[in-house]
């Protein structure tokens, strides 16, 4: 066993920390105060492009494979390093982490399901982008969030196009994206086996009614709801091609793989926000003569401990994923534990401020609003418990 951070990862955390202090947190603050996502042409995005953000993990055939690991200061080659970077990134601003240009959550399904031609087509613009561009991912629907098996968006074949109808919600960066990876079903009766993934490009007829959701926190990135209204998608845009889905439960598995890879990272993000809140609280305690208040110290100790335990569990889940070992139980456990621990940390930090927490102008107050989302995205804490219960006691569906 080894719990030390590798020298390489330490160096990357240092870089992210510098960017976090100088760029990421100020940008997140700015968006929060403005109450709106950073606009597409915000100079911040151009500066971040220069710092190495905005790229893809994918490399053209024959490219130097060694570079594939390093796609952005907040992206890693291993799931373990991804947890550490997610934690550090969220410490500075989690909303900015999503707002940053790049293929985003759409990248993993393209990498895992896409044909070589599709990878080339959709990811090559992100190899060395000249301006900030985005990719997006849309699974969640208004009718159900975590119940991804029951998505209602329909896809039916019409000549050489798929025609999609339905509604998607809470999709990050969709209205500014070059393309959106959209999951739909060819027949709800087929359940998971009926799922298909499509890459819908900007300007596709029927991709309509983008609506910017107004959020409590994480305001730096846009959360978009949109409709697919007889949206005609070329056959070539179905990820993997039809043959991919005749493999056993391929389509849905693609989506679930996305989730499994994400859970420890989301847990890491929650820990990062919690850590930021506790650091602010500790600084406030020192500045206001509260450093030796035993009640506050005990609660601070508890919050630190819960965050550390959650981080270790996320790292273990990620390590299992890196070893290609089943990690559903561990990934769900870390995702179930970290956000409530982080919320408790932020809530405690608000209390350290006393009535000052009610003013609404302290970083802690922003963290308190931001952190709640982490218990909801990528499967709520309740869904994680259902998943865990299936594993531990065979809880029937």
């Amino acid at each position: 066993m080894d719990f030390s951070i590798s020298t390489d990862d330490q160096a990357r955390l240092q870089t992210l920390r510098r960017l976090g202090r100088e760029e990421i947190r100020p940008a997140g603050w700015r968006a929060d105060r403005a109450g709106a996502p950073l606009p597409v042409d915000d100079p911040f995005f151009v500066r971040m492009l220069a710092e190495g953000f905005g790229g893809t993990r994918w490399r053209p055939a024959g490219a130097d494979a060694g570079r594939a690991d390093v796609v952005a200061p907040n992206k890693a080659g291993s799931a373990v390093a991804q947890v550490l970077l997610a934690e550090e990134g969220a410490y500075w601003d989690r909303g900015i982490g999503v707002a940053l240009p790049g293929p985003g959550l759409g990248e993993p399904p393209i990498l895992s399901m896409g044909t070589p031609e599709q990878k080339e087509r959709f990811l090559s613009p992100f190899v060395d982008p000249r301006r900030p561009i985005w990719g997006a991912f849309a699974m969640t629907e208004p009718s159900g969030g975590s119940d991804v098996a029951n998505i209602k968006t329909r896809a039916r074949l019409d000549g050489d196009h798929w025609v999609l109808n339905g509604a998607k919600s809470f999709s990050g960066n969709s209205s500014r994206a070059e393309w959106i990876v959209v999951f739909a079903t060819i027949d709800p009766a087929l359940g998971r086996a009926g799922h298909r993934a499509f890459v819908i490009e900007r300007g596709t007829p029927g991709l309509v009614d983008f609506r910017l959701e107004k959020k409590m926190g994480l305001k730096a990135y846009e959360s978009i709801s949109f409709f697919l209204s007889d949206c005609r998608v070329p056959m070539a845009n179905m990820l993997g091609g039809e043959a991919y889905y005749t493999q056993r439960s391929g389509g849905f598995k693609g989506a679930m793989n996305t989730f499994n890879a994400g859970r420890p990272a989301i847990a890491g993000m929650a820990v990062g926000i919690g850590r930021a809140a506790l650091d602010e609280a500790a600084a406030f305690m020192q500045a206001h003569g509260l450093a030796s208040d035993v009640r506050l110290r005990d609660r601070l100790e508890r919050s630190r401990r819960k965050l550390k335990a959650a981080l270790l569990m996320a790292l273990r889940a990620a390590w299992l994923a890196d070893q290609r070992q089943p990690n559903v139980l561990e990934a769900s456990a870390s995702k179930a534990l970290a956000p409530p621990a982080a919320f408790e940390a932020a809530s405690f930090a608000m209390e350290v401020l006393g009535a000052g927490g009610g003013r609404g102008d302290h970083l802690i107050e922003k963290l308190f609003r931001d952190v709640k989302a982490l218990d909801i995205v990528e499967g709520t804490g309740q869904i994680q418990r259902v998943v865990m219960a299936r594993h531990l006691v065979g809880l029937p569906n």
């Binding site: 951070i5 270790l312 390590w319 561990e330 179930a336 418990r385």
Partner: protein
Amino acid sequence: MIDFSRGEDLDLVAETARRFSDEQLLPAQRDFEQQRRVPELVLQDAHDIGFDRIDWPEASGGAGMGALARVLATEHLAAGCPGATLALQPLGSVAQALLAFGGETALRTHALPLAAQPGMRAVLVFDPRGEWQGEGEMLSGTVPWLPTDRVDLLAVLSRTGLRLVTRGIVVTPVPGAGLRAAGACEVRVDRAPVDTAWSDPVAAALALAHARVQLAALIVGQMHAAADYSRKYALDRVAFGRPIAHHQALAFLIVDMHSAVDAARQLLHEAAWRLDAGQPAGEAAATALIEAVENAVFIGSNAVQILGGAGFMRDYPVEKHMRELRALGLLLGGADAARDDALPSLSPLVFLADGAQGV
């Protein structure tokens, strides 16, 4: 580089301890408790395997495998019976304290003679508030309960030093709330002569970290047993037409119990790794112990709860689990004595070694 694999050596340690626990401790735990002792044959078997000195230096007769090995062995043994596990390691964490203060010389001088004689017990007592008073070369103090029936070497650890007493130790048997397999007594010394004393705050912190990690391992092992027993029971027991584990109120409780054990275990392993890696371990060890003690109360109580009325009965092990877990958390000053060490400063939070995190 972060790596959760145990490797062959540690796997073998864990497997050996698991098998010993399943064969020799688990089936006999009620007998041990009732007789307040572990039979000589079992003690001898454990000694022959080397559970009592797995982390001692090889030159002193140990296996030199480190704190993680000791933790893994202890977790598995304690799953069978934590009281017996204490008895199987008759020098407790005194050996690690001796190594911290006086190296192998101290271990050979003070511990090896005891280890050579079956049945002898050494006990480490942590004195966080300086309640043990010394007058010159004398020491006075009392412990209302220790899980042992005899004390041949009393090691009193403060935040600044270690004092050894072998003479004038008065033990009085008490009923014992838990861990009876190891015995139960009150210990009193009244102006007893101090054989040896060290003053060294750094060594004291290290000795304390070792002791806390060991205690946390006992708790985590027993917690695992309690959570797992009640989980399996809930799958067998049918009420309202289905296994009670399939009622969500219990399913989610079982899930949270699993997570509580795992959280404590991860903190424990990280702290033990720090001891082996020579990293600062005081804060991590205190953190691991507090998490273990607090989660133990949650696990113990709910393990009984899941069994309902049956859980309250001595026919099932969970009432013992609950008492053992509560009793373990009272040792070494428990969680409260650890809280200050778990929050040594208000400087920015750094979770992992190498200072790669934090501002």
